[in-house]
Assembly symmetry: C2
Homo-oligomer: 396 residues x 2
């Protein structure tokens, strides 16, 4: 059997390129590079690396040993869907029917993919935040949606500007994507703003896809969910306990939506992933009711890291860095040193520190860098020191 | 927050039904029913329930404890891809480049989904086996392919008839799906037949998608892989170690294909699942080199179960049941008792035994029932006894 990298052969010549070279995440490329280069210190992480709750790990080990390693139903085991509903009741005081309105997914990513697959048709208008998570844009592009960006506001720190969304919402709009707290800016949509958005969207027949995967990480007040301020008829709420509990490799997300959409998404999911991780479902459904301690601890840790990071960066000349309202990231403005975030990222990679270029998150993110702080401080500190040094050197 | 099952609301009214009620697997519905009804005995399983290798479970528990719970690169950790290549070398004596030609997936299902997404465009002709696994058909339908069925032969037992495939292969054919051993028939494509198929397909510029997830379960001789009889330029080989090692709930499959296709599929995968299960990759990459003992044991167990099941069913009047060449299933012909496999399945459900109706697998499967035997015999025996009784009652 011979092979080569070139695209030769009659069969291959008949295939059109589906993935454009411009698509796909620099984070993905970085992840692969990082697996090969141990000398680079990273602030590029898109997940919490401070460790999962020990009780959750033990529950998963028990599930393994008890042989809970087989297929589950596509929508997820009943106990897991009930735990999701209980969690929603406890955190946001909303009633969710675990039988009809919850679908377990392969991380938040599959939930978003399925929502786009079912709700959005080619040519439909979709509103996306700028800056915003690049993979949301990629999913929208691959679905053939017409992308309309709404800017986040920069009033001291990054915030949601509901008027900027409402101005762009027309009868052609099919879906508005919200991510609160936001990746990469930490912007949070407040309890005061949510009802304005959901009411107009409902009236116009527009869906809101709310990506709540950073819900636990709000640093001033508590997280407000779309579920508290609207009706399921036009809300699709995505969450990921693998993100929340630092087990991103388990790929365990879920979506809460109208029963009709859940049915459509579940039937579609069957032909993509069949089901979500069995042991993760068993462990998480057991652990979730007792998760408050970990949630508080990890939020406090992240707040503390964030504040220390901000304090350190304030000492660096030529950069600016507001305190985020939530999330895992500081979105550092280095445009005064280099207007190109890609150029700055390459420079920093050569200096031995990995960050994510802000341009990946949209035109408004250009000139900024995403720095993760959801890690033990002793891991952040040396990377941050190297970053500070490299930025100071650049400033000259 | 109020809600209902009815599809009301302006937003919902704008969504077209993507999933037809006729689509989707009866197995999925069954799985959900079974989670709720413990009194039904099942022969409907599509997975091995005789237990995973203890060393694999222990490796997964170690990975959990060691904190290997975070995202991996989208294509999979290097050690896992190398283990896949080593396995291919050992089992089929083929050289696979782990760096460029292997992509880890969320079970074989995601691999198939991605292959269709990248290779098949709307209107392309795809050849599928009849009978054949229903989800392959569902993926093809959802991709908008033109479906052409090639019949499996029934010469004593079910077998592949390569001429039936070649007769249907034209310049319009984009992809031929093969599943050897086959679900549900156990038919195996032999080492003699593979080169005829791959040579013509390559010449015509047709891809072969070979679903090898039952590769370990060949009961006469050894499994022959497309990889041994062709070139990567038109081969896409799907496998699933979560199927092979009875950990289907881990969702750990992979695809071996041309580097250009692997790149396209990997980039697309990022927007569906981001990555495959971390702990599963770590555990499997550690375990795989020492898996021969389990592979031999589980194959012998299945052969033994299959032969006992066949012997039991031979005693039942009005049914016929050839010995399968491979796989997890006996495909029992009950057409003399009831020409409708759906009717027969419903009757048996009422009698307290679950089976999968052959009609789900195509028109040639009508009148047959799929019975799984990849389980401990003490689990099969009572279900089989109940089945025999119900069939005898039906025969009257």
């Amino acid at each position: 059997m011979s092979r080569g990298n070139s695209r030769s052969g009659k069969a291959l010549e008949r295939v059109h390129s589906v993935v454009k070279e411009s698509q796909g995440s620099p984070i993905r490329a970085l992840k692969r590079l990082m697996e090969e280069r141990a000398d680079v210190l990273s602030l590029a992480m898109g997940e919490a690396t401070f460790g999962a709750p020990q009780e959750l790990i033990e529950a998963a080990a028990r599930a393994l040993e008890e042989g809970k390693n087989l297929y589950t139903s596509t929508n997820g085991i009943p106990a897991m869907r009930e735990a999701v509903a209980d969690f929603a009741k406890r955190r946001w005081d909303v009633d969710v029917d675990p039988e009809t309105s919850v679908l377990m997914t392969v991380g938040g990513m599959e939930a978003i993919h399925l929502a786009f697959r079912i709700v959005v048709e080619e040519g439909d208008e979709v509103l996306l935040p700028d800056p915003g998570w690049g993979m949301m844009r990629t999913v929208a592009e691959r679905r053939g949606a017409r992308l309309i960006y709404y800017p986040l506001a920069r009033a001291g720190t990054w915030t949601y500007d509901v008027d900027a969304i409402l101005e762009r919402m027309t009868d052609r709009t099919k879906l508005v994507c919200v991510n609160s707290p936001s990746n990469p800016t930490g912007a949070v949509l407040s309890a005061e703003d949510w009802p304005r958005l959901t009411a107009v969207a409902r009236e116009k027949g527009v869906f809101i896809l709310s990506d709540d995967v950073y819900h636990n990480f709000v640093y001033d007040g508590s997280h407000s969910s779309a579920l508290s301020h609207g009706e399921l008829e036009n809300l699709i709420v995505v969450n990921s306990f693998s993100k929340t509990f630092a087990v991103t490799g388990w790929r365990l997300g879920h979506v809460i939506a109208h029963p009709w959409l859940i049915h459509q998404m579940g039937a579609y999911k069957e032909s993509i992933s069949l089901c979500s991780l069995s042991i993760g479902q068993w462990a998480m459904s057991e652990f979730l009711a007792a998760s408050d301690g970990y949630l508080d601890w990890s939020r406090a840790l992240c707040r503390d890291n964030m504040q220390k990071m901000i304090a350190s960066l304030k000492a660096v000349p030529g950069v600016s860095c507001p305190e985020p309202q939530g999330g895992f990231y500081v979105f550092l403005d280095t445009s005064a040193l280099d207007p190109s975030s890609a150029g700055m990222t390459e420079y920093l990679w050569r200096e031995g520190v990995a960050v994510v270029p802000g341009g990946f998150f949209g035109s408004q993110g250009e000139g900024c860098l995403r720095l993760g702080f959801a890690a033990p401080w002793e891991e952040i500190e040396p990377a941050l020191a190297r970053l500070q040094q490299a930025l100071a050197k650049k400033h000259g």
